[in-house]
Symmetry: C2
Subunit: 203 residues, 2 copies
DNA sequence: ATATGAAATGAACAAAGTTCATTTTTCTGG
DNA sequence: CCAGAAAAATGAACTTTGTTCATTTCATAT
């Protein structure tokens, strides 16, 4: 790689990291091109040479966030030992809640930042999410032995949506969701009750 | 009420209605003061005489949306006849999904419009939501006979969050939730399975 | 060393929310 | 009905912020 390409690559990662830090600390709404440029020591124009626009940069940060969520979920499954399937599902739910609460601004940028209606979505935005669902599918399929892959997958998405919705309304100041203090506990209750429903269906 | 107060009140409702129409048609991100002023035949300054800022106007529209959601949920319970409790819960869930899909821009303005972090929230924003939860609590309490009010209320919020999360990720282009075609059906499955879990808990 | 093309620059532009000095309208007392 | 005062409406100007692009700076190959 040539000097110039190296420099370009370093500036790209510098910008992404600076954007990530600013989003994490202040929220995506307070991410501004001029401040980013000052952070990394370049001009505003350079940002636009390296990224289509600020939304593209935000998408890159969001992809990293998605990866981090995937990592903590993966790690939580490594740590869980030989727990039964439903406990694994609870662990995944709690891990997701904990990450969202601890990194609420990054999490909000990933899920709640509004792109223009016609903004082109890179493929990797959707692909990165499949891995999240797969974590859930593994233990869930244990309780849905007679369902096809697609049904299990759809239910995994629904369970993800459930936990996501609980987090979303809990964190949203303007909406009165489940109290933050009880979020983990209530998430566990919801997952365990749902799984009991799956089991009683087979019986 | 004096002439001037009448005029003022009419202009206020005109502005709210115009904002509602524009949000409904184009989304909250494309609501602009100059266009609103042109709609109702006043100057931009007048908007700021009647509302603190555009966010305040958006909050008024959101309150109407909340009221409309409450109304359709209420109406769905009037229509449901003597169905059993779980069917009532399913009806509430489907009604919510249908409203969100049919009025996605209004729904998004209510739940996803980001206010400044320190923006003061009027009381009625949170109060209006209590009614939504109460619709769910009534049939839900049937399956949680030995739980206290608070636990039932928290579980009602969680179920609301579940359906809300499913709708949210289904409508979000950038996130791969449950396919929109299957949203109603999948919502029903999730609610029925959860309730079965509640029942098997008692047994 | 020079020419050439790529990259960086930042002033300028555009879009949109918000303000406020000025103008217009309304109200009130005589 | 009029004059003056108070209230309301006005819209030009200001502010902020994303984005562009003509110009300058730099790196590389011959």
């Amino acid at each position: 790689m040539s000097k110039v390409a190296e420099r370009k690559a370093r500036m790209r990662t510098d910008l992404i990291e600076s954007a990530e830090r600013r989003i994490s600390e202040q929220g995506v709404a307070r991410l501004h091109a001029r401040e980013l440029a000052a952070d990394v020591g370049c001009s505003v124009g350079t940002i636009y040479n390296l990224f289509e626009d600020l939304d593209a940069l935000i998408l890159h940060v969001s992809f990293r966030t998605l990866k981090r969520i995937d990592d903590v979920m993966e790690a939580s499954m490594d740590d869980v030992g030989d727990a039964d399937a439903v406990s694994r599902m609870v662990t995944l739910g709690r891990t997701y809640c904990d990450f969202a609460v601890a990194n609420s601004n990054l999490w909000a940028a990933l899920f709640e930042h509004n792109l223009p209606a016609d903004y082109p979505l890179p493929d990797w935005v959707l692909e990165g999410q499949l891995s999240l669902f797969r974590h859930i599918e593994a233990p869930l399929s244990f309780y849905m032995p007679s369902s096809d892959r697609e049904t299990v997958g759809r239910t995994a998405r629904s369970l993800f949506s459930m936990v996501h919705g609980m987090v979303s309304l809990s964190l949203e100041r303007r909406i009165s969701g489940v109290n933050l203090d009880m979020l983990d506990e209530q998430t566990e209750f919801m997952i365990r009750t749902f799984v009991r429903g799956l089991k009683s269906d087979q019986a």
